[in-house]
C-alpha cells in the first residue's frame, strides 16, 4: 500500500468508569489521537459485564489508538501497573496509517 506509515494499533478494553483515568494517562504520555466507544459488554476474568442489565450497569469502554512504536511502548509501560485496577485487556497489532492532511499520532 503506498502513502502509508507503519504504526502500532492498540486496543484497550476497560471498565467504562475508568475511561477518564485512562484518557488522562494517555494525555500525560503525549498521545495525540484515540477513539473510544462506550457501552461495550464482555466477559473477562471478573465475570461478564452487560450493557443492558437493568439492575447492574456494568459496561466496558473500548479504546483504539494508532501510534508509532515508541509511543506504543510508552503506553504499555504506563498501562501495565494500572491494568489490575482498570481491569480489562490491551492488544497490540501492526497497521498502516493512510497519510492525510492531519497527523494526529
Amino acid at each position: 500500500m503506498n502513502s502509508t506509515i507503519a504504526m502500532k494499533r492498540m486496543e484497550i478494553v476497560i471498565d467504562e468508569e475508568k475511561l477518564e483515568e485512562l484518557i488522562a494517562l494517555l494525555r500525560e504520555i503525549g498521545v495525540r489521537g484515540y477513539t473510544f466507544i462506550k457501552s461495550a459488554g464482555g466477559l473477562g476474568s471478573r465475570g461478564s459485564r452487560r450493557p443492558d442489565d437493568i439492575f447492574f450497569e456494568e459496561t466496558n469502554a473500548l479504546l483504539i489508538l494508532a501510534c508509532l512504536e515508541p509511543t506504543a511502548q510508552k503506553v504499555i509501560n504506563a498501562l501495565r501497573p494500572k491494568l489490575k485496577d482498570f481491569g480489562g485487556m490491551c492488544l497490540i497489532s501492526d497497521c498502516s496509517w493512510v497519510e492525510g492532511p492531519a497527523a494526529s499520532y
Binding site: 443492558d52 437493568i54 439492575f55 447492574f56
Partner: protein, 316 residues
C-alpha cells in the same frame, strides 16, 4: 375483600408479554425516567402531607420503626442459612433484600388506599427511605461475619445514602414539605400527584417484563424460595401491622407499615450488595424478590395487610 386495582393489571400485561415472547420493549431511558418520577413523586406526596405535622412530634416514633426494621434481616438470615441451605454470603444478601423496601410496592399500597378513599401518615415515606440503612447494614454484617477481606464500609454507606433511591425520595420529601409549608403545592401536584397512578402503570408494565425474565434464575432453589417469598413477607407484614397499631398509627398508616416490612428491594439492595457482598449471587436475590414476593405483595399481600391493619386497630 376490596377490588383489585386496575393498575396492577399492567403488571400482568408485562408478564404476559414476556411469556408470549411479544416484541414489546420498554426503552431503557423510559424505565429510568419513570423510576426517577416515581421516587420524586413518592417523596413529594409524603413531604406535602408531612407539612401538616409537627416534625418533632413524629420523629421519635419514626426512628423507632426504622431501628426495628433491623429485626427483619436478623430473622430472615437464619431461616435462609439453615432451612434454605444458602451460603453465608447469599443468606446475608437475601436477608438485606427482604429487610429493605420496595418503593413500587409502597406505591401500589398508596394506590390501594386511594382506591378505597383512605389515607396514611405522610412521614411513612421518610420511614421507607431510612429503613434501607439498618436493613442493608445488618445484611452486610451478617454476610461478612468472620469472612476474610475487608468490607468497604465507606463505599457502601456512600452508595446507600447517595444512591438514586434514597437521594430522590428524601429530596422529594424536603421539597414537598417546603411546598406544603409555603402553600405552593399547586402547579407541581398536576404532575407528581395527578399522574402518579398513570406513571406507576407504565412502570408496572416493565416490572412484569422483568419479573418474567427473572423467574427462571431461581429454578434451582425454586420451591424453597417460593415458600419463603410468600410466608416471610406475610410474617414481616404481620409484625409491621402490630407495630403500626402499637405506635398508634391510623389504619392506613398501619397498613403501609405492614407493606414496608413485607416488601423487599430489587433496586437499591442489589446495587448495595454488589459492593458490600460481591461474592453473593444477585440472580437469586433479585429472582426471589422480584419474581415471587413483589407480585405476591401487589396482588394478594396488600389487601391482606389492609385486613391485618383493621384487625389490629380493632384489637388495639
Amino acid at each position: 375483600m376490596p377490588t383489585i386495582q386496575p393498575v396492577v393489571g399492567f403488571f400482568i400485561l408485562g408478564v404476559l408479554a414476556g411469556v408470549l415472547k411479544s416484541d414489546l420493549k420498554i426503552p431503557e431511558a423510559l424505565y429510568k425516567s419513570l423510576s426517577i418520577f416515581l421516587l420524586i413523586a413518592i417523596g413529594f406526596k409524603g413531604g406535602v402531607s408531612m407539612a401538616k405535622y409537627e416534625i418533632m412530634d413524629v420523629l421519635p416514633i419514626a426512628l423507632s420503626m426504622v431501628v426495628l426494621a433491623a429485626l427483619v434481616p436478623l430473622t430472615a438470615y437464619p431461616i435462609l442459612k439453615k432451612l434454605g441451605k444458602f451460603s453465608q454470603a447469599d443468606s446475608g444478601a437475601i436477608a438485606a433484600h427482604y429487610g429493605s423496601v420496595s418503593a413500587v410496592t409502597f406505591a401500589v399500597g398508596l394506590a390501594f388506599l386511594e382506591g378505597i378513599k383512605e389515607t396514611s401518615e405522610g412521614y411513612m415515606v421518610l420511614i421507607m427511605a431510612l429503613m434501607e440503612i439498618p436493613a442493608l447494614v445488618t445484611g452486610t454484617v451478617l454476610a461478612r461475619m468472620g469472612a476474610k477481606g475487608t468490607t468497604q464500609w465507606g463505599k457502601l454507606l456512600h452508595e446507600i445514602l447517595t444512591g438514586t433511591s434514597i437521594f430522590l425520595m428524601v429530596g422529594g420529601v424536603i421539597i414537598g414539605y417546603y411546598a406544603g409549608m409555603v402553600k405552593l403545592v399547586a402547579p407541581l401536584d398536576k404532575m407528581y400527584m395527578d399522574l402518579f397512578m398513570g406513571v406507576l402503570s407504565l412502570f408496572l408494565l416493565e416490572m412484569g417484563l422483568l419479573a418474567s425474565a427473572r423467574l427462571s434464575a431461581i429454578r434451582a432453589k425454586g420451591p424453597f424460595l417460593l415458600v419463603f417469598g410468600i410466608l416471610f413477607p406475610l410474617t414481616a407484614g404481620f409484625f409491621g401491622a402490630f407495630l403500626g397499631a402499637a405506635f398508634g398509627l391510623s389504619t392506613g398508616g398501619t397498613m403501609m407499615l405492614a407493606v414496608l416490612y413485607a416488601s423487599c428491594s430489587y433496586i437499591a439492595a442489589p446495587a448495595a450488595m454488589r459492593i458490600a457482598v460481591p461474592e453473593a449471587d444477585p440472580a437469586v436475590s433479585i429472582g426471589a424478590s422480584l419474581g415471587v414476593t413483589f407480585p405476591f405483595n401487589i396482588f394478594i399481600g396488600v389487601p391482606i395487610y389492609w385486613e391485618m391493619a383493621k384487625w389490629f386497630k380493632g384489637v388495639a
